[in-house]
Chain length 144, copies 6
């Protein structure tokens, strides 16, 4: 079997990818699968590994609940910077798994201490766009 | 008092925030306060801490003059990358506290040595936009 | 009052710092306060702001429980890289607020997806040192 | 001579810059020289050093062939993040020196292991734009 | 099968891991497997995914030869910074797959243009240690 | 001449390197030249470009005084992280060009706002080592 491990069209890898897509659709709705669809035209292998590895192998592990995984993910993506497209997907996922808008902006404020205010600001403005598209807002925010 | 330290609506924190906003308006004119106004709709606490901590507590300290603080800030924001919105605010602030366009682009050229040419290029093109909106240009630049 | 806002020896700032030190000692035991003590010899103002701002103003906010803050913090520090000293303090804090060794290494494995394997490896080996000093280990790990 | 070393208008530096521009035009066609032209209006010295140092001094060195240099460069720019403008220039250069679209997206998939999936995704979507403007596509990609 | 995808002790995952370990031992000799052995005591799952995913799924793909993968990897790890342990493993791997010491230090010099001199310096000094343990040196270097 | 531009042993490049070494010795005393000497055994070309480009071409430019260059450099190196060896050289250089220990730690405190507290902490502890080797200390620090 090992000779075919890298073959993303093998039955085993198709199963892994489909399982990852199931995990992804549970937490992300449409935004995550849209990314993988967009990759079909440029790098199907990257799309495969996002689904099969990132979501099928890792995200689905029982060691952390979905809420905890999203908190870690928001911390990472805020700190890395330049990941606004991915951060928006995961802010949507965070809402889907039960984090509130208040908790999400609080996590970003918390990030300012460790990653600096510019990263926290960029993340917060990215979250704002997602909140608006979901029709939600933090309770503490003033009406716009 | 300690139970209320995190309450951004307390009298003490309102004083701290207002002082920070005074510092900010002295150096930034409108660009910085516009960021804090935009945060009111999404994360008022982040806006509070930008004003109260970043400008009221730190920027206002006497240990470095405003010109020196802006040189450090330009170095940091150029190096971090992905902070073009914040860099534009601080390029404007740098002009306001007396750095010349020549000095600002020189600091960015200097950054290329330590942070690499892509960061220096992105910073320089961000500065170009600010210079144009302020109607200034480096003396060494050819007319466009 | 605003003229003295930057004076870390003022009564108000002493109160803020002491409150932050209380928050810090609750979650960190000795490791965090040791950092602030070490700063007394080089940058007391940096020590003040770690205590007063990072812990007194931000960490103590009610918007996220301590467990959630530590998950976000582990994500950030893993992603930033080069923050092993701070990561060790926060791995200890994570244990103190109830995260298990299994959850901590799981958060670092999760980080590999977004920040890459080298960052996850460095964080995991830093956690290993803290676990050893606390006499704990992940349940899934083989005895050394 | 040393007093004039920093003078980018000296004969020696003009020679160095022109040689760098020759190297650049060999590998990049128009995209790279367009960046240097754009710098004339804001930081001619930065443009000089991109040409004279980055391309004339370093890129032209015989120790690595052009294909190898582009592989290293794609790895660096993918990992740094926030360098999409520079990455696009170098994806074009990679095509010009003989790397195929399949090899370029493979290098970016490889980068996901070390720099994380968000950086690999951003790089791949940047490459997609360059491929489209060159009228090429990876062989494994599905028709759009 | 999908319910067991995250189970690293399943037959399928054991096969994937063993294949990855074979790939790793081909290119890395002992240094890489030593890392995975060290992970057994702290995060066996991280060790599994380094082997099964990073080497079994990705490194083994036919789209880039081993020499090209190592050039990309050196670029990434130099740029990220703080990855000296991983960089040393991959400098050893680079030697094993046929890159010369001259090519490796040339790739790091090239990195200075894009990631700055400090990253290039740190990488070069890390390479020096690996070269010494392999009893090799760049031809251009002066005898120590 | 262009065929020899990359030849670091040419007369022109030897002149450029020697001029850079003069600039470096003016600001750094021994620490900087020790780095270049160490490179002779591993990457003489990297040492050449540190001297000829970083110091001869850039640092020596008249557009910013040495004090301003060191402020920018401290900001960059603090923000990048993982550059403690280079930061120590430049803290020493900063002292040599007239920045006081108080100004240096103030610049690092200022960096906490933009690059986060962990980067500021690491930089400050690196500065502490340099101050001790120079026999100086910030005036605000308590005796150790």
């Amino acid at each position: 079997m090992s000779t075919a491990q890298h073959d993303i069209a093998s039955t085993g890898n198709l199963d892994r990818r489909n399982h990852g897509l199931d995990v992804l659709s549970t937490i992300d709705g449409h935004a995550g699968t849209a990314v993988i669809d967009a990759l079909a035209e440029i790098s199907p292998a990257l799309g495969h590994h996002v689904a099969a590895f990132a979501f099928g192998d890792i995200y689905d592990r029982p060691g952390l609940d979905a809420r905890s995984r999203q908190l870690v993910t928001i911390g990472i993506l805020t700190a890395l910077g330049g990941c606004e497209p991915q951060l928006k997907v995961h802010v949507g996922a965070a809402l889907n798994v039960g984090l509130t808008p208040d908790e999400i902006v609080e996590a970003m404020l918390h990030s300012a201490v460790y990653a600096g205010f510019p990263r926290a600001l960029n993340a917060t403005f990215a979250a704002k766009e997602v909140f608006e598209s979901h029709g939600v807002r933090p309770s503490a925010a003033s009406p716009s």
